[in-house]
Symmetry: C2
Subunit: 355 residues, 2 copies
């Protein structure tokens, strides 16, 4: 018998996150490791009256192709892929891998060309119902430093939750944010203020990301002043950066250090002018996530954390900052962290004031 | 290190069978079991300057979907799939499975609806460069009654051959066929004549099928007279039929029996009027195939065999018979079989007269 959590996972993805209905063309992007989940997704899509196509994105195949293909080929967005995505109503990205480092020996230039070529797909996908989720595998457990059993418990603990209930809780925070001009965050080696005036708070209720569980917006571009210590490590394009300290003046990074990966962080900040400004302030609200897993799909949703991203802002939140990057950095708030909305403390050491 | 035969297999598929060139959009239809082959295909497509997309057709996923989907959904050819195939230049169907019986408990009506819905794709695919090949798996070895090692040897023995050399040999037969009006086949419990006048012999040189290795055409619809005993078993839609004896009068089946599966054969013949007439006469020329494997991709190419198919004829050969089925039945010719072209014996007990 299949793990009943896989069945429930599929039901949430298809029926809650993507609201699949009769006649929908559903495209699942996945790898062979996620077949047990995709099989249950197929069942749910069948029940809902949708059509199903499964596109295989296997790292070892992509790697073999990328190593041999020349720049000319990598720069091209294949037209049939564009049409396939444009013609689909629902896109489900069911992530899984048998080796999280499979792409580690592809020259960065080739990775960059490919991701640039795929860029226009984002605009098409944004107009669809889409969802990114994760199927636990031993390799992903290894990446998170956990046994497979503990990692699967972790994934399902974060994913199989009462989403409408969590949305209700997040709505309270979102309503407060909508009425707020200035946010101040104080904690270990941290005191920063920024403005969210006129920006729209967005609730991530498990629809586009599964797990969801954050309320986020994009700060006013010139508003950030102060210093933040991000105590959680980030993995960006396979490289780790941890113990990051960043100082802002009038929205711009004036100083940055990292305990690990400082040079890489510096290179990222030099990508473009927008890389030196904040594109996001997010507050993690998923208390089903109690541990850090080095996977941003989970880490940024962790309860009792905040995160900020350097780079690209969210248009839907009213954000304006443009950049080729968007690097999320996470900070734990349970031990002494305080969040102020317009000088009023709304969160303190693990509790919102209304809790 | 990967089995070097997989590398050679991929080179033949991409460079010989499909002639992939710069800018081609290559679509691979496959299952997860064939990933080792698809990885090498990806490398070759990359080298050739093509673009690669991999569409996953996993029996266990298709089964889960089909069991739940209602007739309305199964009757639909998904538009994005049609566009994807129409937009591709090259289609490679790399067959493999972890269980050859995975689809065995889907109601036949559902299978029929699906295959009818997919029907129009054939017309689109025919205009492309396309190839069907097979990657050996333990399940396919089991189906063939062989150990995996012996089955892999069998597959590569049939597939990794000197195709231009085999085409040259087949050309001799094809030229003779092109100048022939009547064919007579004599052998164990067999004496049948049919006309191929005005019909075009086609060489299967490993391009569309890999392995290839047959010369075939479609007989004149009313011409078959006599009896044939097909001594090799056939598997049609998962069911076995063997020891088939068929009698034709003026092209139409007047009597049929089978040692196994006689009732099923009768039902197939009742599909439509065209199911009672021959759509194909083929002569197997691939002497790399020395054994029967219950896989028609191989069996119909086996050296020293002939096959006839009831049902749909080949338009490209000038064939006219229409039918919803095309059932290939194979007969060994090594032990006493004789093929006459216009009363002249051109093949006798394992040898063509020009050999």
């Amino acid at each position: 018998m299949v793990d009943p959590r896989i069945v429930e996972h599929a039901k949430i993805v298809v029926n809650y996150s993507c609201r699949v209905r009769k006649g929908d063309n559903v495209l699942v992007l996945t790898s062979s490791e996620a077949i047990p989940l995709v099989r249950e997704i197929a069942r749910e899509v069948g029940r809902a009256g949708g059509q199903l196509l499964v596109l295989l994105s296997e790292d070892s195949i992509s790697r073999a192709y990328a190593l041999e293909a020349d720049d000319d080929a990598l720069e091209v967005l294949p037209k049939p892929l564009e049409q396939l995505i444009a013609g689909s109503d629902v896109l489900i990205n069911a992530r899984a891998t048998s080796n999280a480092k499979e792409m580690s020996d592809i020259p960065p230039r080739k990775m960059m060309l490919t991701s640039r070529a795929m860029g226009p797909l984002q605009t098409i996908i944004e107009k669809k119902r889409w969802n990114i989720t994760l199927h636990p595998t031993p390799a992903l457990a290894q990446e998170a430093g956990k046994s497979f059993e503990a990692f699967a418990d972790f994934v399902y603990g974060a994913t199989l939750v009462d989403w409408p209930g969590m949305v209700k809780k997040m709505q309270v925070l979102a309503d407060r944010m909508a009425a707020t001009k200035d946010v101040r965050i104080v904690g270990k080696e941290t005191d920063i203020t920024l403005s969210i005036q006129g920006r729209k708070p967005i609730i991530d209720g498990g629809e586009k990301n599964l797990p969801g569980g954050e309320v986020f917006t994009s700060p006013v571009d010139e508003s950030a002043n102060g210093t933040v210590y991000f105590d959680k490590p980030i993995i960006f394009a396979g490289s780790e950066v941890s113990g990051v300290r960043v100082t802002f003046k009038n929205g711009r990074v004036t100083d940055h250090r990292a305990e690990v990966g400082g040079e890489f962080l510096g290179a990222l900040l030099d990508t473009d002018e927008g890389a030196k400004r904040l594109g996001e302030l997010g507050i993690g609200m998923n208390r089903g996530i109690r541990e850090f897993s080095k996977n941003i799909l989970f880490d940024e949703k962790m309860g009792d954390t905040i995160h900020m991203a350097l780079g690209l802002a969210f248009e839907e939140a009213g954000g304006r900052n443009k950049s080729g990057i968007h690097i999320d950095m996470v900070k734990g708030m349970r031990d002494g962290g305080v969040i102020y909305f317009d000088d009023e403390p709304i969160y303190k050491s693990g509790k919102f004031v209304w809790e």
